[in-house]
C-alpha cells in the first residue's frame, strides 16, 4: 500500500497524517516538538486501558452518556413523512457534543504534565466545554473568541467566565472563529512549554483531525446501535452540520463502511452559496492550506483566505476538516449548502413541533433533513446529529424572529 491509500473507516490516516491528498502538518518549527508530543502521548494513551477506563467513566458519570435517540414524529410530518431520529448531543453536560473531545484532551493534557489550556471558540460551545474541563481538572484556561462572536454568543462568554476561564475577544481580521484560531496559535507558540492547545474541531495539524474525530466517534457508535435497536435496520442517511466538522465526523465515522447509508454534511450557506456571504467551504472552496492542514479553503486566487459569513458562529469558518475533504472527493459523503433562513425556519419548526430548541448550528442539519426527507419519501429513516442546544442563540433568534417585539412573530 502506498502512503496515500488511506481507506475510509480505518482508524488512522497515513504516517504523515494524510487522508488521501488532505491533512498533513503545516506548522512552524516552534510547534513541531509540541505537536509531536501530542501525537506520541495520544498513541500511548490509546494503548493504555487505564486511559480508556477513565474517559469512559467521565463520559458516563459527568457528561451523561449515552445520549438519547429521539423520534420526532411531528417534525417528521414536515419532512415528507420520513422518519427522523435525533441523536441528542444537546443533552450532554455543557449542552453540545464538544465535551466528548474536551474530556479526552484534558486527560491527555494531564498525562503531558501541562498546567494551562488554551482554546478557540466560535459559538462558545467548545469554549464552555473547555472551561468546564479546566475547572474539573484544575487547569488555567484562556479562551480566544472573535469579537463578533463574543457579541452574538454573550451568554456563553458569561458561562466561560463563571467557570473561571479568561475570555479574550479577538479583534483582528474578520473577528470570528478563523481569527480566534490564529490568536490561539500565537499564544501557543509563545507558551508551548506549559500550555496545551485544546483544538476544538477535526481540523488543524496531524494528529488533531484524527484525535478529535476519535474522541467523537462515540456519537456514531452509540447512534448506530440505537437506530438498529429502535428500527431493526440501518438508517438511509445520516445528516450533520459541518463547520470544522467535528460532530459530523463523530457521527459519520462508524457508518462509513455501511455503503447503503448516505452521509450528508450541511454547510452554512449564509445568505446563499451563490452570494459572497457564505461559509460553504466544501461547496465553494478550493484545496489549500489553512491552520495547519491541507483541505478545502475559501480563498482567492492568491491564496488569501476569504472571510466567511453565517448566522451561526460555530459554522462561520472558511476551512473544514481534511477527512471531510477526502470524503467529498471520494464521493462517500455529500455536502449541501443550507442558508441562514432555512436554518432559522428549521430551528423554529423543531422548537414548536417537538419542544426542543436546537443550536443554530444543528438547525442547519435539521433543515438538510427536511429537504432530504421530501426527496426520500415516507419509507426513509434519517438520523440527524442534534449537536447542541439553542439557549446560547436566543438573542440571535429573538432578533431574527422579532421575539423582543410586544407581539412576537
Amino acid at each position: 500500500m502506498s502512503e496515500n491509500d488511506y481507506q475510509p473507516g480505518t482508524q488512522v490516516p497515513d504516517a504523515r497524517g494524510y487522508f488521501g491528498a488532505y491533512g498533513g502538518r503545516f506548522i512552524p518549527e516552534a510547534l513541531v516538538a509540541a505537536v509531536e508530543q501530542v501525537a506520541e502521548e495520544y498513541e500511548k494513551a490509546k494503548a493504555d486501558p487505564a486511559f480508556a477506563a477513565e474517559l469512559d467513566a467521565l463520559l458516563k458519570d459527568y457528561t451523561g452518556r449515552p445520549s438519547p435517540l429521539t423520534d420526532v414524529h411531528r417534525f417528521s410530518a414536515e419532512a415528507g413523512g420520513a422518519r427522523i431520529l435525533l441523536k441528542r448531543e444537546d443533552l450532554n453536560h455543557t449542552g453540545s457534543h464538544k465535551i466528548n473531545n474536551v474530556l479526552g484532551q484534558a486527560l491527555l493534557t494531564r498525562r503531558m504534565g501541562k498546567t494551562r489550556i488554551i482554546a478557540e471558540t466560535g459559538a462558545g460551545q467548545h469554549g464552555v466545554a473547555t472551561a468546564t474541563a479546566c475547572a474539573l481538572f484544575g487547569f488555567d484556561c484562556t479562551i480566544y473568541m472573535g469579537e463578533v462572536d463574543t457579541e452574538r454568543q454573550a451568554l456563553n462568554v458569561a458561562r466561560m467566565r463563571m467557570l473561571g476561564a479568561e475570555v479574550i475577544a479577538v479583534k483582528s481580521g474578520s473577528r470570528t472563529l478563523k481569527d480566534a484560531i490564529n490568536e490561539a496559535f500565537r499564544d501557543w507558540v509563545a507558551n508551548v512549554d506549559s500550555t496545551h492547545y485544546l483544538f476544538g474541531t477535526v481540523a488543524g495539524p496531524h494528529p488533531f483531525p484524527m484525535m478529535v474525530r476519535d474522541f467523537h466517534r462515540v456519537i456514531g457508535i452509540e447512534a448506530r446501535e440505537q437506530v438498529l435497536e429502535r428500527t431493526g435496520r440501518l438508517p438511509d442517511a445520516v445528516v450533520a452540520c459541518v463547520g470544522g466538522g467535528s460532530n459530523a465526523m463523530g457521527i459519520f465515522h462508524e457508518f462509513i463502511p455501511d455503503a447503503g447509508v448516505r452521509l450528508i454534511g450541511c454547510e452554512a450557506a449564509g445568505e446563499g452559496a451563490e452570494t459572497p456571504r457564505h461559509a460553504a467551504t466544501l461547496t465553494k472552496g478550493d484545496p489549500g492550506v489553512l491552520h495547519g492542514s491541507r483541505t478545502y479553503v475559501l480563498q482567492d486566487e492568491d491564496g488569501q483566505t476569504i472571510e466567511s459569513h453565517s448566522i451561526s458562529a460555530g459554522l462561520d469558518y472558511p476551512g473544514v476538516g481534511p477527512e471531510h475533504a477526502w470524503l467529498k472527493d471520494t464521493g462517500r459523503a455529500e455536502y449541501r449548502p443550507v442558508t441562514d433562513d432555512q436554518a432559522m425556519q428549521a430551528l423554529r419548526l423543531l422548537s414548536r413541533t417537538e419542544g426542543i430548541i436546537p443550536a443554530i448550528e444543528s438547525a442547519h442539519a435539521l433543515a438538510g433533513a427536511l429537504v432530504l426527507g421530501r426527496e426520500l419519501g415516507p419509507e426513509a429513516t434519517i438520523l440527524v446529529s442534534l449537536s447542541g442546544r439553542g439557549d446560547k442563540d436566543m438573542h440571535t433568534a429573538a432578533e431574527y424572529f422579532g421575539l423582543y417585539d410586544s407581539e412576537g412573530k
Binding site: 518549527e29 516552534a30 516538538a33 500565537r186 489549500g288 489553512l290 491564496g303 488569501q304
Partner: protein
C-alpha cells in the same frame, strides 16, 4: 562559492562582522512606497533584504506586522506586485532579495510557477516559516531547479536531532528564532538564542542568522557576537507606521535605523 546569498554572508564573515538582514512586507504602505522602503533598507546598510508576502492569516506575526499586512492587502497588493517589488529592488543592487511568505499563497499560485517567477524577478530564495521540512520536498525541488535558496527556521524548542534534519534540508543560511513567540520587538534578546545558535552550528556549516525581537543597535551588536547575521523586521515596520503617511519621513527613518543596526553588527 555557492549562491549570491552564500557569497554575501561569506563576504560579511570575511570582514569579521555579522550580516544585517532587513524585512519589510511588499505593498506597505503602498506598492510603490514598499519598493522605495525596501531600497532604503539597502541604502541604509542592510546586506540582505527579505520582502514579505502579506497574508490574510499571519499566525506567526505579532500586531506590528499584522497591521502592515492588513494595510498592504487593503491596498490591493497581489502576488504579482510582490514579485515586481523583488524585481525592482534586485535590479538596483547586489544585495540578495529573499521572499518571506506563508505557504498557502505559494501553493495556490503554483509551486513550480512561483519558483520560476521569483527566479526570473531576480530573487535569491525563500523563507517559508509554516512549511516544515517534511512538507517541503516539492518546493525544494522547484527551488533547486531555479537556483533559489530555501532558508528554514529553527526554534529554541527544536531538539538536536531535529536541528540536524532541518539544517540538512536548507541552503543559504539557517534562520534561528531568538525566542519562542511571534514577530515583534522585545526589550531584551534572551539567552535562548545563543544556545540555539551553538546547537545549530553543531549540525551544519551554513551561516546561522538570528531574528525575532531584535530592534536596536545594542541588541544587534549583542547578537552579532554569536551569530552570522542579524534579522530585523518589526522595528522597520514600526518606523513606517510611526511616519503616519509621510513617505519621505518613513524612508528617512528606515535608512537611519538600518544605519544604526549596520553599525551594531560591526561592533562585535
Amino acid at each position: 562559492m555557492g549562491s549570491k546569498l552564500s557569497q554575501t554572508l561569506a563576504a560579511a564573515k570575511a570582514e569579521n562582522r555579522a550580516a544585517l538582514i532587513g524585512y519589510l512586507p511588499a505593498g506597505f504602505p503602498t506598492i510603490e512606497g514598499g519598493i522605495k522602503a525596501a531600497r532604503a533598507l539597502i541604502e541604509g546598510g542592510c546586506d540582505i533584504v527579505e520582502v514579505g508576502l502579506p497574508h490574510s492569516d499571519p499566525v506567526l506575526d505579532g500586531p506590528t506586522i499584522q497591521t502592515a499586512d492588513d494595510i498592504a492587502l487593503r491596498g490591493g497588493v497581489r502576488i504579482k506586485d510582490v514579485l515586481r517589488t523583488v524585481a525592482e529592488v534586485a535590479a538596483g543592487t547586489d544585495a540578495p532579495v529573499l521572499v518571506m511568505t506563508y505557504w498557502n499563497p505559494v501553493d495556490r499560485y503554483g509551486v513550480a510557477r512561483f519558483a520560476a517567477d521569483l527566479a526570473a524577478a531576480g530573487g535569491a530564495g525563500c523563507i517559508l516559516p509554516d512549511l516544515p521540512v517534511e512538507e517541503s520536498e516539492e518546493w525544494r525541488k522547484a527551488a533547486g531547479e531555479h537556483g533559489l535558496d530555501t532558508v528554514f527556521v529553527v526554534a529554541p524548542s527544536s531538539k538536536d536531532p531535529r536541528l540536524a534534519e532541518v539544517t540538512a534540508a536548507g541552503s543559504g543560511f539557517v534562520y534561528a528564532a531568538a525566542v519562542m513567540g511571534v514577530t515583534g520587538t522585545r526589550a531584551a534578546v534572551g539567552n535562548l538564542a545563543e544556545d540555539l545558535v551553538a546547537r545549530t552550528r553543531a549540525t551544519t556549516d551554513l551561516p546561522v542568522c538570528v531574528g525575532l525581537g531584535v530592534s536596536t543597535a545594542d541588541q544587534a551588536a549583542r547578537v552579532a557576537g554569536f551569530a552570522d547575521g542579524v534579522i530585523v523586521g518589526s522595528a522597520f515596520v514600526q518606523r513606517i507606521l510611526d511616519a503616519d503617511g509621510d513617505e519621505a519621513a518613513a524612508l528617512t527613518a528606515v535608512r537611519a535605523l538600518a544605519g544604526e543596526l549596520a553599525e551594531g553588527v560591526r561592533r562585535r
